[in-house]
């Protein structure tokens, strides 16, 4: 069996989850604390990837980052190659898929934080940025960790969005999920089975580790 697609899946999911975490925690903070018109709409947009068919999501992503779009042209001007059908597109697919899990979980955790603690931080001289990093973030850490774990598992398992915007190029964008599909189509059942076992094991291990981590942190104070 081939390890390259599995390794690629792992790398892509790692980078995608990192990106989605930075963006997702920031968005969660805005959704949890700020009051503005369009907040629920933004929430809907972020959550949509959880329920949309991957083909629909991939279709819209192609219309945002495709070669003929503004984003696509800028990317090409800076990076020299097109964004779609590249490894970066696979990362984007994973990040978009992971984002709602992280935002949902982080937002719920942040809304649980006692607002008087943020008030106390403010009267002690902490501005919004400092209280975000020193009070809100540490106190919602468990929920964020849980979301990051789910997001990682989701990014690792992405099939449809990756296929739509990154393609199925062996050695470049063919992740584990895609390689398994190819192997099954070609009747290479042993190979598919091996990869499927590794993918399933990896996902369960990630979710298990995440739960353990959250539980240990929860007893920290």
């Amino acid at each position: 069996m081939s390890w390259a697609p599995l390794l690629l899946s792992f790398q892509v999911a790692l980078v995608a989850t990192t990106l989605a975490t930075v963006l997702g925690v920031g968005l969660a903070g805005v959704l949890a604390r700020a009051r503005f018109t369009g907040r629920d709409l933004l929430d809907g947009l972020i959550t949509a990837p959880m329920v949309l068919p991957p083909t629909v999501l991939g279709y819209w992503l192609l219309h945002v980052v495709g070669r003929e779009t503004v984003v696509g042209r800028c990317w090409e001007a800076v990076a020299g190659t097109s964004l779609v059908f590249s490894k970066s597109a696979a990362v984007l697919a994973g990040a978009v898929a992971a984002l709602p899990f992280i935002v949902k979980s982080a937002r719920a955790a942040m809304e649980e934080v006692d607002p008087t603690l943020l008030g106390a931080a403010a009267t002690l001289g902490a501005g919004p940025t400092r209280s975000f990093f020193t009070v809100l973030l540490p106190l919602s850490r468990n929920g964020i960790l849980a979301g990051v774990t789910l997001g990682f598992a989701r990014a690792l398992g992405d099939f449809g969005v990756t296929l739509m915007i990154a393609g199925n190029i062996p050695g470049l964008t063919q992740t584990g999920a895609l390689a398994i599909y190819d192997a099954v189509q070609a009747n290479r059942d042993a190979e598919a089975g091996g990869m499927a076992a590794v993918m399933a094991g990896l996902a369960v291990a990630a979710l298990y580790a995440g739960t353990k981590l959250v539980r240990r942190r929860a007893h920290g104070w």
Binding site: D114, G119, A121, A122, T123, L124, G125, G127, S131, W221
Partner: protein
């Protein structure tokens, strides 16, 4: 201890749910020293403190502290983190993820000797030995002292206390109250003590303000 300590003057209207019944509609002045604010629950005591601290924004306002304009009801609204009006919440609001000394150090002006300065404040509040304890392991009286040390360590120009002794028994209340009064006196800043204990108000403070339905009772 810091310059331009001075009178806290508050003119504020905070609208309530019903238009004819404001949460708060007051014109008050607090001299240097401890002033008690009394009243039933719902009278606007906590709202008054939150308004002074900048955590509630009044519809109509003119709030000054010494020579600093905190809120002129129009263009000037100093955000809470720049007011230096430390607030001891009724729930104390100690940060649960930080040890006692780190709670105190949170409001200290930044510097290299954070721990030493935090310990000095804990010592003044007579809880130096609890420096490394988590807030969840402190008794009510201990947590109260840490919260007070934290508020004072931020070098406030006004101190706001929301029923800080409500969870304590009578003897501890009297003891902490006397220490609080002494500390406030040494700092020479206005301090507003919300309480519903008449004895506290009479023994600790020089003046008492009574609120009723958001207004000062004549």
């Amino acid at each position: 201890m810091v310059g331009d300590a001075g009178v806290l003057s508050v003119r504020a209207v905070v609208p309530g749910a019903k238009p004819d019944r404001p949460r708060l509609d007051v014109r008050l002045s607090f001299d240097v020293g401890l002033t008690a604010v009394m009243g039933r629950s719902g009278a606007g005591k906590t709202t008054l403190l939150l308004t002074i601290a900048g955590l509630v924004r009044p519809a109509t306002a003119r709030i000054t502290l010494g020579d600093a304009m905190l809120d002129d009801g129009a263009a000037v609204f100093v955000p809470p983190h720049r007011r230096r009006t430390a607030l001891v919440f009724q729930t104390l609001a100690l940060f649960p993820h930080l040890s006692a000394w780190k709670n105190v150090a949170y409001g200290l002006p930044r510097g290299p000797d954070d721990r030493d300065r935090a310990l000095a404040w804990l010592k003044r509040a007579r809880v130096e030995h609890l420096a490394d304890r988590a807030p969840s392991t402190l008794s009510g009286g201990e947590a109260q002292r840490v919260a007070l040390a934290r508020a004072l360590a931020s070098e406030p120009r006004a101190l706001l206390l929301d029923e800080p002794f409500s969870a304590l028994d009578a003897s501890l209340r009297a003891e902490l109250g006397a220490e609080l009064a002494a500390l406030v006196k040494s700092l020479a800043i206005p301090a507003v003590l919300v309480t519903h204990h008449h004895e506290d108000a009479q023994t600790l403070t020089s003046s008492i303000i009574e609120l009723e339905a958001g207004r000062v009772r004549a």
